[in-house]
């Protein structure tokens, strides 16, 4: 690493290391998803803007009434036969979950996992594997991430950064079947392999998309069926949720289910919407015998009491990442956090403190595309600006030298005009600070005439 690299914010440093193949995969997939979103939402709502406003209002109400709604949820879950656990931080959540696992199945047992961002947030897998359990991710994308010892790079599309050849090589290496580049064949190899895991699993772990305070219903959405299998086949189901994942009533679900699937993939609804009202009843022949709900804080009450509280409206659709020019050019891995894209650039430092992640808020051009597509209208650009100013104010981040020079030059008309004469734009292209960035990217060439010359010389 050169001296110059150290001087640069780490987001930018990581982004530079992303290769062309990855950028191509991410660009193609995000453009497709962003287009699908527009078509999907238009087919679902007469007035998409009104739907987003309503959803934002419902979520704002939830944030204003967290204590009451959480108590209500807890009570209703108990009545449904669901055991409720509280965890103030990641460590506490891991401990609680490990205890439930240890009480439910002998060490070495298979645990099947449905895709869950909050389980990534608390680094649950590593912990349970260390405790001696055989933890298997069952969502196709998350399964690939696990066998490759990789990390997911998108909230809903974990292997958006990989192409079919990379998946094919991994499956061949793991002995899942003969080498094939057909997505159908690869999916069927995964189906065969994971079906055995579902049959032998004693415990299933999932996240929660919406928890309904009024009824205690836990709502999980997915397309593959792995989440349903994980939460139906094993005798024990452990659901983990961030405490903001509440909705007041079941009548709120149609709006939110449509907004979530439409914003995420352009589907009118996800294939499976699992509405869980507790464990198997006496007159039922299958389903888990016990259901546990772990409600996690891990920094959320702190966010709720601070300037970034609206970030807790997020329903994890990933639409902001799909439209973000920075995400498209750098992939989720550049953010180096479970939560990436524009939402991650706010949520990650809000959860962990600006001092821990001072530069993430700089990974944005502030173009506002994220706020425009957000189904719950989170003012992401405003929060990014606020985080930047907090980072500089608290000394967590120093204003980068080029910007300090720019500020000096741009705040006086004389200095600005002099600077423009001294520093022809063409030279910027070969600026040493941009070298790493332009290795895989084109620096736009100067176009057209000089604005000032045109302005002063106009008839």
């Amino acid at each position: 690493m050169s001296k110059q690299d150290i001087a640069l914010p780490s987001v930018e440093r990581r982004a530079r290391k992303i290769d062309r193949e990855t950028i191509d995969s991410v660009r193609a997939a995000t453009i497709k998803a962003a287009d699908a979103r527009v078509t999907g939402l238009a087919s679902l709502f007469d007035d998409v803007a009104a739907a987003r406003t309503q959803a934002a209002q419902v979520k704002a109400y939830v944030l204003d009434n967290m204590a009451g709604l959480l108590s209500q949820l807890e009570m209703k879950c108990r009545l449904n036969g669901v055991t409720v656990h509280w965890a103030r931080d990641a460590e506490s959540a891991r401990k609680v979950i490990q205890e439930i696992c240890a009480a439910s199945a002998p060490a070495g047992s298979t645990i099947v996992k449905a895709k869950s961002m909050v389980s990534e947030e608390i680094h649950l897998n590593e912990h349970l594997i260390k405790a001696g359990f055989n933890v298997v991710e069952t969502d196709l994308g998350e399964f690939v991430v696990q066998i490759d010892h990789d990390t997911p790079s998108h909230i809903i599309a974990p292997i958006i950064h990989k192409n079919r050849r990379q998946v094919a090589r991994s499956f061949e290496r793991e002995g899942l079947g003969p080498y094939t580049e057909s997505p159908e064949q690869l999916a069927s190899q995964a189906r065969r392999h994971l079906r055995e895991r579902f049959k032998e699993a004693k415990i299933g772990i999932s996240g929660v998309n919406f928890a309904i305070a009024e009824s205690g219903r836990l709502v999980l959405v997915e397309n593959e069926g792995n989440s349903r299998l994980s939460t139906t086949a094993p005798d024990t189901h452990i659901a983990v949720m961030g405490l903001e994942k509440l909705l007041p009533t079941e009548a709120d679900l149609p709006l939110f289910l449509k907004l979530l699937s439409g914003s995420a993939t352009g589907q009118r609804l996800t294939v499976y919407t699992h509405l869980i009202s507790g464990p198997r009843r006496r007159d039922e022949s299958d389903g888990p015998l016990s259901v546990h709900l772990v409600i996690l804080d891990n920094g959320r009450t702190k966010i709720l009491n601070g300037p970034y509280r609206e970030i807790l409206r997020c329903i994890r659709c990933g639409a902001c990442a799909n439209v973000c020019p920075v995400y498209r050019q750098s992939s989720g891995h550049a953010y180096d956090h479970v939560y990436n894209g524009p939402i991650g650039a706010v949520l990650a430092p809000a959860l962990e403190g600006v001092a821990a992640l001072p530069d993430l808020a700089k990974a944005s051009s502030l173009c506002g595309a994220c706020e425009e597509v957000c189904p719950v209208k989170i003012p992401i650009p405003r929060m990014l600006l606020q985080l930047r100013s907090e980072a500089v104010r608290t000394g967590a981040l120093q204003e980068a030298l080029p910007w300090a020079i720019f500020t000096f030059g741009a705040t006086s008309g004389f200095r600005w005009r002099a600077g423009l004469k001294l520093l022809p734009m063409s030279k910027m292209a070969s600026h040493p600070l941009k070298k790493g960035w332009t290795e895989y990217r084109e620096m736009p060439a100067k176009e057209g005439r000089d604005f000032r010359k045109w302005w002063n010389g106009r008839p």
Binding site: M66, A67, A187, R281
Partner: protein, 178 residues
Amino acid sequence: MEDRETIFADLPPSGRKARPVLPPAPLPTLTTEAMWQMFAKNLEGLGGRMGRPEELEVILSRPHTIDHEVATKIGRLPGGAAIWEAEVGVTTADLAIAETGSLLLSTGPGRPRLSSLAPIMHVVVMPKERIVATLAEAFARLSDRTTIMITGPSRTADIEGVLVRGVHGPSDIVVIPY
């Protein structure tokens, strides 16, 4: 319980504002026939299809499971093959939802959850009158038991965004109203 107390101590006191009232979705007045037509169009768009009762003979020649209600209706024994060996799961449904092509299945006696999930083919045999136009109507009469809403065959687009059907759940859904 220590964590619970810490969390509640940190939560701000609840606001007093009433919750926002969502404007009720306009209810379309459609005939049952029109609702089934809309349902069929949406289901087919998702990769499922409508079937006829005569097809059941062929379908049931494969290893299958069958819900109590359907078995009684067509004069067969309920149950069938072991769930992981079945190639077809024949179930009933509480409701069909026209606007999305979805099916609502609650759990209960004689209605195993895995029948609509583990076999590669899912066949729904249900009375014609169990259909509503909108999601909102369906959710207004949700069973208090665990319920699954199914909207098309199992699918994934994790590999290069290419749509693949039947990744963990059924690749085929056939709906036979009677």
